[in-house]
């Protein structure tokens, strides 16, 4: 069922990124890695990870402006309303004693609640927070308050922390530290390289994938990757499934007509 949610506050994260807070009972019970379908009345409905999950409290979306619907969301003000369906999909499975979380860009949205779930279990994960440049690093305070110096910053341009992609930073930490599991969300090409490097070291991975979501109920097939539906079998996939879809992962996806096109970021 569709519900209306009122935006209770708006936080600007980066020049082109905002976090919208709202209250919704069902989203407050979601698990990290799940997403909701967010409807802009009179406009589109798009999938968004839940970037805050607070049982009984507020939830949030962290949106990067990349097109019409996300631009409208980025311009929203306190008091505006959106439609919400969900939460949907399979999120992350919390496991391991020394997890490494690798976020690129808006990938932090789904990984921040996972970091909190680990801390609640008494495990402090290492968190690579990567972005193009320093001003794009979202939720830096939230994560540093939670994890202290276990947050490793990385920027493509070297303006802050490690200079290079999150995936390159991850390789360094795979070798220097000893992560027993890796969670990743961000640009697909970044996630593929994290996956391949982890595979060669025998480290299990959970990655959150994106495909074109229409129904979100596992019926239309629009979000297919191999024999799986990102909307319902995912969005989080483990190493076993990632191996099965490795030919498509980082390489091929369906466009909204069902034609296979390349994955370019």
């Amino acid at each position: 069922m569709m519900r209306a949610a009122v935006i209770t506050r708006v936080l600007r994260m980066a020049p082109d990124m905002v976090t919208l807070y709202f209250e919704d009972e069902e989203c407050s019970k979601a698990s990290p890695g799940q997403y909701a379908m967010i409807w802009i009345p009179g406009g589109e409905e798009i999938p968004m990870s839940l970037s805050t999950i607070n049982p009984g409290g507020e939830s949030s979306l962290t949106v990067r402006d990349v097109g019409e619907a996300t631009k409208t969301l980025c311009d929203m003000k306190e008091g505006d309303k959106v439609g919400v369906r969900g939460p949907f999909g399979r999120g992350y499975t919390v496991s391991g004693d020394s997890p490494l979380l690798v976020a690129g860009g808006t990938g932090v949205a789904s990984l921040a609640p996972l970091a909190e779930a680990f801390v609640e279990r008494g495990v402090k994960p290492t968190f690579i927070l990567g972005a193009k440049t320093e001003s794009d690093l979202a939720f830096r305070d939230r994560l540093e308050n939670l994890l202290g110096d276990s947050v490793v910053l990385a920027t493509d341009d070297g303006s802050c922390g490690f200079e290079g992609f999150s995936s390159q930073c991850a390789v360094k930490l795979m070798d220097e530290g000893s992560p027993d599991i890796i969670y990743t969300c961000g640009p697909e090409l970044m996630m593929v390289s994290v996956f391949d490097e982890a595979e060669s070291r025998g480290i299990p991975v959970q990655a959150s994938l994106e495909r074109y979501i229409k129904c979100a109920h596992g019926l239309c097939g629009s979000c297919a990757i191999g024999p799986y539906r990102v909307c319902m079998d995912g969005p989080v996939f483990d190493s076993e499934k990632l191996r099965e879809v490795r030919e498509d992962f980082g390489s091929r996806k369906m466009d909204p007509t069902g034609k296979i096109v390349g994955v370019d970021h």
């Binding site: 069922m1 379908m37 409905e45 019926l219 909204p256 007509t257 069902g258």
Partner: protein, 306 residues
């Protein structure tokens, strides 16, 4: 081991069991269709394919409503020509493929049918019943003359059996079924979704971008069952039942009304890909418990009782 036979023959299409996915449910991806087959379906049905690629409607395209699901996908598909390789790949793996398709004109229907027939599809399902696209694209099947003409044009160029899929959004579905029979249809699929809509009280506007959509799932079942019933009385063709089938009992009810097989769509949401196996196993148990030897023995039994 029992001597039961679960196989069926629908106008020459031989299936290991009487279950298929409903058109448009997962059928846009060959890998998902393969998973449907591995989930136990007797054959798979493609997304309705048209003469050219379509993106379909903008989201929201689906919303859960009382007793079912309302969708207005708007026939997204990569085009029939593009999908030929997927059909061939599935068949090469031993998966029987029913190719569903539509057109904007009688010529389109004929051209697409020819293409899919040559691609080797095991059967064709003519979608003249989509409620979610403009009149000329979707609902040619609301009219007897058009239904007959489209069917005849498709039959002219098709090698495999032709199923004509009908809409419940008509005054008398039996009349339309007769028109399809006149046009040379080999079987009837009944039914497509029932036209409906959803309005959000908070936003005070229709939820679906297309405003109206098609209802599927449990709420459609009794309507679909009545449609099958009426069609079976009107024509001398095998019927494939579709609409709200979620378990073996539903499937058996459709067979008692006269359906030779069933298509299952919306139930995948809750039952998963194993729904086909579940239904088949359930039908087997029913046949055995009631002393029947094959599906044929129960097709139309309830008609005799009425």
């Amino acid at each position: 081991m029992s001597q039961l036979s679960l196989s069926v023959d629908i106008a020459g299409l031989r299936l290991r069991n009487p279950t298929m996915n409903a058109a448009g449910v997962l059928g846009i991806s060959a890998s998902l269709l393969k998973r449907v087959y591995e989930g136990g379906a007797g054959a798979v049905v493609t997304k309705s394919l048209g003469p050219a690629p379509r993106s379909g409607h903008f989201n929201p395209t689906m919303v859960i409503v009382e007793g079912g699901v309302l969708n207005a996908m708007g026939l997204p598909n990569p085009g029939a020509e593009y999908f030929v390789s997927a059909i061939k790949a599935l068949r090469a793996e031993g998966v029987p493929v029913v190719a569903s398709f539509f057109g904007a004109s009688i010529e389109d229907f004929r051209d697409v049918a020819e293409l899919l027939s040559e691609a080797g599809a095991d059967a064709l399902e003519v979608n003249v019943s989509c409620p979610n696209v403009q009149e000329e694209l979707g609902m040619l099947g609301a009219d007897c003359l058009n239904t007959e003409k489209v069917t005849a044009a498709v039959k002219e160029v098709s090698k495999p059996p032709v199923f004509v899929k009908l809409s419940p959004n008509v005054t008398d579905i039996a009349e339309i079924a007769k028109a399809a029979e006149m046009g040379g249809a080999d079987a009837i699929t009944a039914v497509n979704t029932l036209k409906g809509m959803a309005i959000d009280a908070d936003f005070k506007r229709p939820i679906l971008t297309n405003v109206t959509g098609g209802l599927s799932g449990p709420a459609l079942k009794s309507v679909a069952l009545r449609c099958v019933w009426d069609i079976v009385q009107a024509v001398d063709l095998p019927v494939v039942g579709c609409g709200g089938v979620a378990n073996w009992r539903d499937a058996v009810e459709f067979m008692l009304a006269g359906a030779s097989a069933v298509e299952v769509g919306t139930a995948i949401r809750e039952r998963g890909f194993g729904v086909y196996k579940e239904i088949t196993t359930g039908i087997e148990g029913y046949l055995e418990a009631n002393g029947f030897g094959s599906i044929k023995d129960i097709v139309g039994l309830a008609q005799e009782a009425a």
